[in-house]
């Protein structure tokens, strides 16, 4: 009898130890199996997911007020940028309720809405929010899909655009100014056009003194070189294609785009050695280390440059300007994200209540004070906002100029093609014309496979 009891005990111990590999049942534990976030349904906690960067930290500070007002805890989960997209879409594909609110990139709208991952917010937004309070390009860029359809999937959260920072100590140095005027026949000043920027980059490019003209988005990772180059392409009159017919050939690889890519590749010669993998972090680091006279970046990263701790050498010597214009127009790459509700969230009503709270003017004002880039039109256009930081004026001037990449569900394949060929062009591996021809061919094939090339109705991005 004892022996039998012992055997049974051993068997049960083995089974229990296997079962014990997972945590014991916890009413607050996530139902999805995800390790970190607490289920919204269980504990009155809203889980927001965003990329790992400063605005996410500002948001976590902001939502403490919401907790005080409503008693609902809001957690902002940060995912490092390189894994952000993959982790969110893996979670959505598995229909997990890990995240209630997703602060996603503008390009995700098509993919997430057409595949049923985001809750459509059109009627709710029209009823509960004052849509006119949002800055129109931000509402369109971060919330609307298809473009022009007035269908909304996200509440604008963090507005952003690409801009430039520059070394005021160099630009204002009398000797530099005189030398520049002698060489180019004009005053050294913040560039208004890409050609002017080229000349300034050329002027300050002094490898023997460990100084280079400019840091640009050139990298292969995520959307780096695409975000850097596309604005030049638009400024030179190029285009991704026709958003109505999805015709690409002749537009993406048209002469304007080729001229633009040729220009961008030549401009890349004035970047520091090894800059072919530069994106926002490395551009920022190059600037902070005094390697470059000017650096491209998203405005959302500029608060770090005014901080003495993070930018001890140039925190008080840095100026900011809007990305320059080109011969055929003035456009800037759109950054930033909107807040969408996961279709798999068990607390969609609570999530909507949070979005309603977030869109209030007084909350948006505090959001801007904390360092977030509000999409509230009134605040953005106020003089208080423009003068609040050294870069806010340039940011406010950039927003009317923003354009975005395709937002169709196939955007990732389209992006992959751009990244590969445009990185090859700036690296000198492919000629600009060949790189754009290859990109156009691949984009056309992607649209063809997706059945979009035949459509002639819905727009999918201001391309």
């Amino acid at each position: 009898m004892k022996k039998r009891a012992m055997r049974l005990a051993v068997v049960w111990a083995a089974l229990l130890s296997l079962a014990g590999c997972s945590k014991p049942a916890d009413p607050g534990a996530p139902t999805s199996g995800a390790a970190t976030p607490t289920s919204a349904a269980a504990g009155g906690t809203l889980n927001i997911v965003w990329a790992q960067w400063d605005p996410a930290k500002y948001l976590q500070q902001l939502v403490n007020d919401y907790t005080k007002e409503t008693g609902v805890t809001v957690k902002v989960h940060e995912i490092p940028w390189p894994q952000f997209q993959q982790k969110v879409f893996v979670s959505l594909s598995a229909h997990q309720d890990t995240y209630d609110i997703i602060v996603g990139d503008s390009q995700w709208l098509g993919r997430a809405s057409e595949n049923g991952h985001y809750v459509e917010l059109t009627d709710w937004m029209k009823e509960k929010l004052d849509l006119d309070s949002f800055y129109a390009p931000a509402l369109e860029g971060y919330g609307e899909y298809p473009k022009g359809s007035k269908k909304y999937w996200a509440v604008p959260c963090e507005a952003d655009a690409t801009g430039f920072c520059y070394r005021k100590d160099l630009f204002e140095d009398p000797n530099e100014k005189a030398a520049f005027k002698a060489k180019y026949g004009r005053d050294l000043a913040v560039p208004k056009t890409w050609q002017e920027l080229y000349e300034i980059a050329e002027f300050f490019n002094r490898p023997d003194r460990n100084l280079y003209g400019v840091a640009l988005f050139l990298g292969k990772a995520y959307d780096s070189v695409t975000m850097g180059f596309q604005q030049v392409m638009w400024c030179y009159g190029g285009s991704y294609g026709d958003p109505q017919t999805f015709q690409v050939e002749g537009l993406l690889n048209g002469p304007e785009s080729v001229t633009a890519l040729d220009f961008y590749s030549r401009l890349a010669r004035f970047t520091p050695p090894g800059s072919l993998d530069f994106y926002f972090e490395r551009c920022l680091a190059a600037y902070q280390n005094g390697l470059v006279a000017m650096a491209m970046n998203y405005f959302a990263f500029f608060p770090g440059l005014t901080n003495q701790e993070t930018n001890p050498r140039f925190y008080d010597k840095t100026g900011y300007f809007v990305s320059p214009a080109g011969p055929k127009g003035h456009f800037v790459s759109l950054g930033g994200q909107g807040m969408s509700i996961s279709a798999y969230s068990k607390q969609q009503e609570q999530a909507k209540q949070f979005l309603e709270w977030f869109a209030k003017e007084e909350v948006q004002r505090k959001w801007a004070e904390l360092g977030g880039y509000t999409c509230n039109k009134k605040i953005l256009e106020s003089e208080t906002f423009r003068t609040a930081t050294p870069f806010n004026a340039a940011f406010a001037d950039s927003l009317p100029l923003v354009r975005d990449f395709w937002a169709v569900p196939e955007y990732n394949q389209l992006l992959d093609s751009c990244q590969k060929h445009w990185n090859a062009a700036v690296a000198g591996i492919e000629e600009p014309k060949a790189a754009l021809d290859a990109t156009a061919k691949e984009h056309a094939a992607i649209f063809q496979k997706a059945g979009r090339a035949k459509q002639a109705t819905a727009g999918s991005g201001r391309s």
């Binding site: 993959q86 879409f89 959505l92 595949n115 990298g219 090894g274 394949q413 590969k420 690296a427 492919e430």
Partner: protein, 325 residues
């Protein structure tokens, strides 16, 4: 054999306090037949212990294996709320007809060939050095083994700094000025090979050291008596005796290098352009960026077949080497 009567017990067993039954299971029919009168038999207990593992194996390995095989014949995107649609061999045909994918296979093969060759030579050379007794041998061996204990992502980030054209120690030590490594189209692959060799040569050294320690000393003594040269001793004693273990190291390293992902992702992301794109990074893009799950499964199976074929070649070669040894 028949049913022989049970032999008498060598020692008389004490009576069971509860009644006169022995506490041991009945001999013959009891133990061998696998069932005690009221309890579970040994066989049943064995099965019971194996059952959870088997269930886990089926759930975690076998089911995904067959399910992914099925998906490889389907048009299926994991991020779309649509069922898989059977399309036959279209995914395989598209992949095998893609010059780009063949180029990634070639690039991966180049990486494997270069990295494993360097690791093989450097690792074996180090093993020959460290096979001799010298002061601080243990400490030095530990230090040399450190790289293979690090995460490839961490190693990748370290080497990004080491290879930095302006501030990196690599250029500084070799006096190469501002030479660009990881971002240069001509040097990016070579840089990856160097990093991988730095990381994994110690692994080959470890295996080779184990092989060298197993070579009987008397063989060298006999060779010394015959006044055999150092080369002769190496060629006809050391190498044949260590070869089987070296081949095992070679198999492990080849398979591992063939599926290199994290190192490439952390250092070059497959760039510049796609010059350092390997089959694994390409597979990752199909699976988790494009979410073309069906095609990713097909690509995974193509890679699996290549690895199995390579391993079989090695195993045959190893069998031949063992036969010769």
């Amino acid at each position: 054999m028949g049913n022989a009567p049970d032999p008498p017990a060598p020692f008389p067993l004490p009576s069971h306090p509860g009644g006169g039954d022995s506490p041991l299971p009945p001999r013959g029919g009891g133990a061998r037949g696998g069932r005690s009168r009221r309890g579970l038999s040994d066989r049943q207990i064995t099965n019971l212990f194996l059952l959870p593992t088997l269930l886990l194996l089926i759930a975690m390995n076998l089911f995904p294996l067959f399910w992914s095989l099925y998906l490889s014949f389907c048009d299926y995107h994991a991020d779309r709320n649509q069922p898989a649609q059977w399309i036959g061999t279209a995914n395989y045909a598209a992949l095998l007809a893609s010059p780009e994918k063949w180029r990634y296979f070639t690039q991966t093969a180049t990486f494997v060939l270069l990295a494993v060759s360097i690791e093989f030579v450097a690792g074996f050379g180090l093993a020959l050095l460290f096979h001799r007794k010298f002061r601080a041998q243990g400490l030095l061996t530990t230090l040399i083994l450190l790289p293979m204990m690090l995460s490839p992502v961490v190693v990748g980030l370290f080497w990004q700094l080491i290879f930095d054209p302006k501030r990196g120690i690599f250029n500084y030590l070799l006096g190469l000025g501002s030479t660009v490594w990881l971002q240069d189209p001509g040097r990016a692959m070579l840089s990856l090979v160097l990093i991988d060799a730095w990381m994994w040569s110690p692994f080959v050294m470890l295996i080779a050291l184990a092989g060298l320690s197993a070579v009987p000393e008397y063989l060298y003594e006999a060779a010394a008596v015959d006044r055999a040269s150092a080369w002769f001793r190496f060629r006809y004693i050391t190498l044949p005796m260590v070869a089987p273990l070296l081949l095992i190291a070679l198999i492990f390293r080849t398979m591992d290098a063939f599926k290199v992902f994290d190192l490439v992702w952390a250092t070059t992301s497959g760039g510049p352009s796609d010059l350092t794109e390997t089959v694994s990074t390409s597979l990752y893009r199909i699976a988790f960026e494009s979410f073309d799950t069906g095609q990713a499964c097909a690509f995974g199976y193509i890679i699996l077949v290549v690895i199995i074929a390579l391993t079989n070649l090695y195993l045959r070669f190893m069998a031949r080497v063992k036969g010769e040894a």
